[in-house]
Amino acid sequence: MITFNNVTKTYKGAETAALKNVSFDIPRGDFVFLIGETGAGKTTVTRLILRSEIADEGSVIIGGTDVSKLSRKKTAYFRRKIGTVFQDYKLLPYKTVFENVAFALEVTETPRRNIEHMVPQILSLVGLSDKAESKPGQLSGGEQQRVALARAMANNPPILLADEPTGNLDPKTSAETMRLLEKFNKLGTTVVVATHARDIVDSMRRRVIELEKGRVIRDEPDAFYSKKAGEARGE
């Protein structure tokens, strides 16, 4: 589903590469944690997946498509296949929950009739049916992140990309958010989560790709946040 082949990326003006010869393959339906310190290259990976950046060397293949070869017009349509969630939610404060989710569908030119059906379904899936008329400012952080998740999943994308989705949430709300990501994963969505949240990674025990200074230093299934933690537990 997502394949990085010897990807190297250096930003303009930077002395060192943000990613160096990074290779991994994430099959359809996988759930992957992308971990590493700040500056390790997690965000560059997400930006390359979204085609906000293009690799200098190597290739990024998403769903069989080499994203560097996508035209600008095709990039827009390609992005509809990827739902994205951010730490800061990126909700429109003057729109209601319903309108925020519907916005993603309206701007991708989904017919009105479909929006009427799709938004309530997705709001029900994230448990926000009763908040449809609330504005983001009236919601808790966890609820806002659920709205962002609903918006990301509104177009029913095969890939969900979450960049620090629990960064602004307390442990209990973080766990709820991760349960939702698992729920979407069980429904067949490939989920990639870039995170620093050790507790969450340790409690979920999913595949972990660890980056350090732009290189993949670990790619393990059912892993803990740190290799040492796994070894300490005899794994």
């Binding site: 319903f98 916005f103 309206e106 701007v107 030119e109 929006i115 049916s129």
Partner: protein
């Protein structure tokens, strides 16, 4: 009815699914949300286009004046007395000169008779002993006064033509005035159009910065570039056309006042200004098209800057 169902119906109606309607609605929302900047844009576009309109109106009047003079303007082509070519050959060549409206032949006998009648009446004769020093001639009228110079030169080069005489001073004066108005006008108009495009550009950039979040989300969820920039192009177009309409109204009101004042001061068909109907018919489409173009260019430049 399920309360969720009623909410969704109401809220989806608030959103717009028709692309064109969405562009128009968002475009006008952008204008309303930046009233002052939009008003400034409209005023600058209007000022630029009003000057363009003024130059156009002056141009139309000069053209009209040229045509009025041109209708009574004649080029006299005198033939060589020893000319051996047939009159019809020379006439054919003269007719083929571009810009010639009509051509009439006057034989030396006709001209002598005419001159004599003008001087002495029916019974007189100007020259002694049946002498006729006059030459055969053609009188040419022209389609456009500005072409008279080229027509005269072409006529002079025809074999059998002795001399070409025309009222050079009038033409020279009008031509110089026309060229001066056109040259100054082109430069001033170019500067004003660039200024107007720049103002529209800035207004759109300001609008885009306040819709930064929306644009960011639109890009993330996969909205097409057309869908993202469409409303801004509508906004630019609306600013340009509104400015043009304002300029058109101002120029036409001003022209109407000028027309009545000038006709009260000076009478005579030569000094009469072109009718307001004619000015409106020429000016309105020019201003609207220029205004719309200024808006579209300004907004496209702004919207595509970060692409």
């Amino acid at each position: 009815m399920n309360p969720m169902r009623s909410i969704q119906k109401r809220q989806v109606k608030r959103g717009v699914n028709n692309k064109t309607l969405y562009f128009v609605k968002q475009g006008f929302l952008n204008i309303v949300s930046h009233k002052i900047m939009s008003a400034a844009s409209i005023c600058i576009v209007a000022a630029a286009l009003a000057l363009i309109g003024l130059f156009t109106a002056v141009g139309i009047n000069i053209n009209e004046l040229m045509q009025r003079i041109g209708s009574s303007y004649e080029i006299n082509v005198y033939l060589n007395s020893e000319n051996e070519r047939s009159i019809s050959d020379i006439e054919g060549e003269l007719k083929r000169i571009p810009g010639v409206k009509s051509i009439s032949f006057y034989s030396r006998e006709d001209r002598l008779e005419k001159v004599s009648r003008e001087v002495y009446g029916d019974d007189g004769y100007v020259f002694k002993d049946g002498e006729n020093p006059l030459r055969d001639s053609f009188i040419i009228t022209v389609n456009n006064l500005t072409e008279s110079d080229d027509i005269s030169k072409a006529a002079e080069n025809i074999d059998g033509v002795d001399e070409v005489i025309r009222s050079k001073d009038i033409i020279g004066g009008i031509d110089t005035a026309t060229r001066a108005v056109r040259n100054i006008g082109i430069w001033i108009m170019a500067v004003l159009v660039i200024l107007a495009v720049f103002i529209v550009y800035n207004t759109i950039r300001l609008g885009m910065s306040s819709f930064e979040n929306e644009i960011g989300i639109m890009r993330i969820v996969g909205a097409s570039e057309t869908f993202i920039i469409g409303p801004f192009v509508v906004q630019g177009f609306a600013l340009g056309v509104t400015g043009a309409a304002l300029a058109d109204i101002l120029i036409l009101i001003g022209y109407k006042i000028a027309e009545s004042n000038i006709s009260a001061l000076i009478s005579g068909s030569i000094t009469e200004l072109a009718g307001i109907g004619m000015i409106a018919a020429v000016l309105t489409p020019i201003l609207m098209a220029t205004g719309g173009l200024i808006g579209i260019i300004g907004s496209l430049a702004a919207a595509l800057k970060d692409k």
